[in-house]
Amino acid sequence: MNGLSLYGRYIAASIRGQMAYPAGLAIQTVASFMITVVEFIGVWALFHRFGQIAGWRLGEVALFYGLASVIFAIADAVTRGFDVFGSVFVKTGGFDRLLLRPRSPALQLAGYELRLTRIGRFSQGAIVFAIGAAMTHFVFTPFAAGVLLFAIAGGVALFAGLFILQATLAFWTVESLEAVNILTYGGEAAAEYPLNVYARWFRDFLIWGVPIGCVTYLPMLAAMGRADPLGAPSWLTPLAPLAGFAFLGASLFIWGFGVRRYASAGG
């Protein structure tokens, strides 16, 4: 069986497992939807009062917000195994079991769980994006749709890379891994607004440090057919999500290094 069909089996098993408790699943999905909806009410209230931020109107910000939310919902749904790696696999010694199997541990962790509750957040992002598209008369040209799909793929790759780095840290310490949340949850929060609203140092970090801006801000500009107010060349903006794939590649390389130096805690 090749890797992809094995992954398919893992995911099918995970979905069946979650479907065994339909009421719990429904409540958590609705909750995930509600939490993100009320957060957007806060954004709406700010625009109700101020009208605009750095030249952007509510409809335009909704597009950036929706894209970031959709990307993060997918990434968060597919990387559960890496997210809980420290507590579920390293602390307990359960990772030894994964290493014994003749398949890559990264594939097994990717197949650990597909979190269906994240459909809640995904729908919120998609709805916010649709509202933004209606408000700004956004046109889904084939080019715009292609850039958005590419941005979503690159964005999921980037956030998956961050969750893999978080898991890699667990080879050294299982304490305080939640501090990585500032890059995952915190990175998504920062990407909800177009980057030019932020101060220079913060913007630079989101482009050159952890390239979240390359998978949300720059491709969204390309899809809208807008020039970057910060001056990124227009041939570059649709290609920027490549940075997400590069980040995932680098993360997997560091992960491999961590796996090689792993020593079981016994048990």
Partner: protein, 277 residues
């Protein structure tokens, strides 16, 4: 029985829980770092909105910054979840033992919840104040820091309102505990409560920023006392009699929630069914 003896079990469960939770130092540091980051994002967004024109802003940027840092410092008071120990007890059936104790279950759990929240907030708040009130001014970013209250009155009223905030937080946690006991699961109460608490408290956005026609309703509801009332008092947005009225409202809600919660918990505990052995 003297008052002292009557209170002893509650005091000891409070201090036990407080000291236990204080041991989680790494979690406190991680929480502090996360809260610094989210504070920075919020402040940068506020700054960008204000830069485009502050004519319709309900408070100065400096006050919005103060509000943001206070929110990050006291974030762990927000009752997002039922008490995890109670949720475990319900799952394992050990909650039945709580009925055997010769104490008032509501007061007993209330004391536990107080110890839990205070111990989680104390280290984070100390670190956050050190960062926003001491470090930021020292490196020349005082404009973006957390200043002390503008007057002694504001400080005193804030202290009083902060007590109300702590008591209210525990009263809402107890409501969530009761939902867990009544429904026998912790899957539903927590996540939905978090959505409500975040918005209605003013944590997502200070309540003053919402449309003017909504503001009186937002201020009057119980959850405003968790964030909006104490923080507005801190920077002087609520002062004098309106501050006193807001504090009275806060404590009034504590009493109402505690009375309703105690009756409801009592009923739920009497109907408790524990299965298996």
């Amino acid at each position: 029985m003297t008052l002292d003896a009557a209170l002893r079990p509650y005091l000891s469960v409070f201090s036990g829980r407080f000291q236990l939770m204080l041991q989680y130092r790494a979690a406190a540091v991680a929480g502090f770092i996360t809260q610094c980051w989210f504070g920075v994002i919020r402040i940068l967004i506020f700054a960008a909105f204000y830069a485009g024109g502050a004519a319709h802003a309900p408070m100065s940027l400096a006050n919005a910054v103060t509000y943001t840092w206070l929110g990050q410092a006291f974030l762990a008071f927000l009752p997002w979840n039922p008490d995890p120990d109670v949720a475990d007890m319900v799952r394992s059936g050990a909650v039945a033992y709580e009925r055997l104790r010769p104490v008032d279950t509501y007061a007993w759990w209330y004391a536990r919840a107080l110890g839990w929240s205070l111990a989680r907030v104390a280290p984070r708040a100390v670190l956050m104040v050190a960062f926003a009130s001491v470090l930021l001014p020292l490196i020349g970013l005082g404009k973006w820091g957390l200043p002390p209250p503008p007057s002694l009155d504001a400080g005193g009223l804030f202290a009083l309102s902060a007590v109300g905030m702590v008591l209210l937080s525990a009263a809402i946690t107890l409501m969530l505990n009761t939902v867990v006991v009544a429904t026998m699961t912790d899957k539903g109460a927590g996540p939905l409560a978090a959505a409500l608490v975040n918005t209605l408290s003013g944590m997502v956005l200070p309540l003053a920023f919402f449309p003017d026609w909504l503001r009186p309703w937002l201020r009057a509801q119980p959850i405003a006392g968790l964030v909006d009332i104490p923080f507005s008092i801190y920077f002087g947005g609520l002062a004098g009699w309106s501050a006193a009225g807001a504090i009275a409202l806060q404590f009034g809600w504590v009493v109402i929630l505690a009375l309703v919660g105690r009756v409801w918990l009592g009923r739920s505990m009497r109907r408790l069914q524990v299965q298996g052995g």
